[in-house]
């Protein structure tokens, strides 16, 4: 039944490699589908979401003081203590913006990069997933007099994290470095720590809203 010709022998040797190449395609597609995301709609940038109130509560504290200047300078001092560089301060609006730079290399990401690269080599293609190399933490702090009680001020601080990725490669296509992403930090502990430090430096209790 089975007649083997020299030709089919060669192809049977090549078969596993070719099969692997075909298998690799869906894997690569699966991996990279995480990277390729459709452009978000413009409207989504201006919508108040159910999380908005939650975030506000997390990021805001009330202080029993009517001295806004003191509140701002104490906030600036706390940000300095945390290693931030104050970049913008506007007394009339009660606003501070500060930033700090940090490396963003993560162990897991580089292991993943090497794993995918090896997988790519087996399939005779070169895949280099970009990894995070640099990050900047931005803090925007705003003080505001309470609507109901003029002797109280609220402080709201937002921490954002921007991440810059290094370069990468997908087969023959080069992925340039510097792709940036930005996310709001929503970890309650970070905000709790900040307000604990602020109330300590003000000798005032921080009340939740």
């Amino acid at each position: 039944m089975l007649t083997t010709t020299p030709n089919s022998k060669i192809s049977s040797v090549q078969k596993p490699a070719r099969l692997f190449r075909w298998l690799l395609l869906p894997i690569a597609v699966g991996l990279f589908s995480g990277c390729v995301q459709p452009m978000p709609k413009v409207q989504s940038f201006f919508e108040v979401t159910p999380q908005t109130a939650q975030h506000r509560a997390l990021q805001t504290r009330m202080f029993d003081t009517s001295d806004e200047k003191e509140l701002l300078s104490a906030s600036a001092a706390v940000l300095q203590d945390l290693g931030f560089q104050v970049e913008e301060s506007v007394k009339e609006v009660g606003m501070l913006r500060a930033a700090k730079e940090r490396g963003a290399r993560e162990y897991g990401q580089e292991i993943m990069q090497s794993f995918v690269f090896l997988l790519g080599l087996l399939g005779q293609t070169s895949i280099l997933v970009p990894v995070d190399v640099h990050q900047q933490i931005n803090a925007t702090l705003v003080t505001r007099r309470s609507e109901t009680d003029a002797s109280r001020f609220s402080v709201r601080v937002l921490f954002h994290r921007s991440i810059w990725k290094g370069d990468g490669q997908s087969d023959r296509q080069y992925i340039p470095p510097g792709i940036q992403s930005l996310e709001m930090i929503t970890d309650g502990k970070i905000y709790q720590q900040f307000f604990a430090k602020l109330s300590k430096s003000l000798f005032l209790e921080a009340h939740k809203i």
Binding site: P40, V48, E147, L182
Partner: protein, 143 residues
């Protein structure tokens, strides 16, 4: 010069023509106001029955924080705020400039210009949503 070289020179001239465009003139209507722009301006402007400009400015800043924007710059006396925000996973970037000015004796006017990936946003719904957020932070502020 053989036929091949001649052909090469000829095609090269064609290719390089694109580079030598000469100085481009700015279009005449560059700074002219057309009807569409007037319409967009009306979407971008909203008057509030609040006398205190600083209060409105602070309301705008608070609403920007609500929407998760990074307030980049603010100027109290001029009533100016610039802010920016990235979309999920760094896709899309919105930046905006807000100007708060007095309108008559009793009102304050807020004008916002928003860009999406450096192109002006012309969708009125976007501006409506923004003003809803401002209104909320101006009149429903808690605490």
């Amino acid at each position: 010069m053989n036929a091949r070289t001649r052909l090469f020179a000829f095609s090269l001239v064609f290719l390089l023509q694109a580079c030598a465009g000469g100085p481009q003139k700015a279009p005449k209507e560059l700074l002219a106001l057309n009807e569409a722009q007037m319409k967009i301006r009306s979407f971008q402007t909203r008057a509030f029955d609040v006398k205190d400009q600083n209060k409105v400015l602070r309301g705008v800043v608070a609403s920007l924080q609500d929407l998760g924007f990074i307030v980049e710059r603010a100027n109290g006396p001029l009533g100016l705020v610039t802010a920016g925000k990235f979309g999920p996973n760094g896709h899309g970037f919105v930046e905006l400039t807000v100007v708060v000015r007095a309108k008559g004796e009793e009102q304050t006017e807020v004008r916002v210009n928003a860009l999406f990936n450096t192109k002006p946003i012309e969708d009125p719904k976007v501006y409506q949503n923004f003003f809803i957020a401002v209104e909320r932070s101006l009149f429903n502020s808690r605490g």
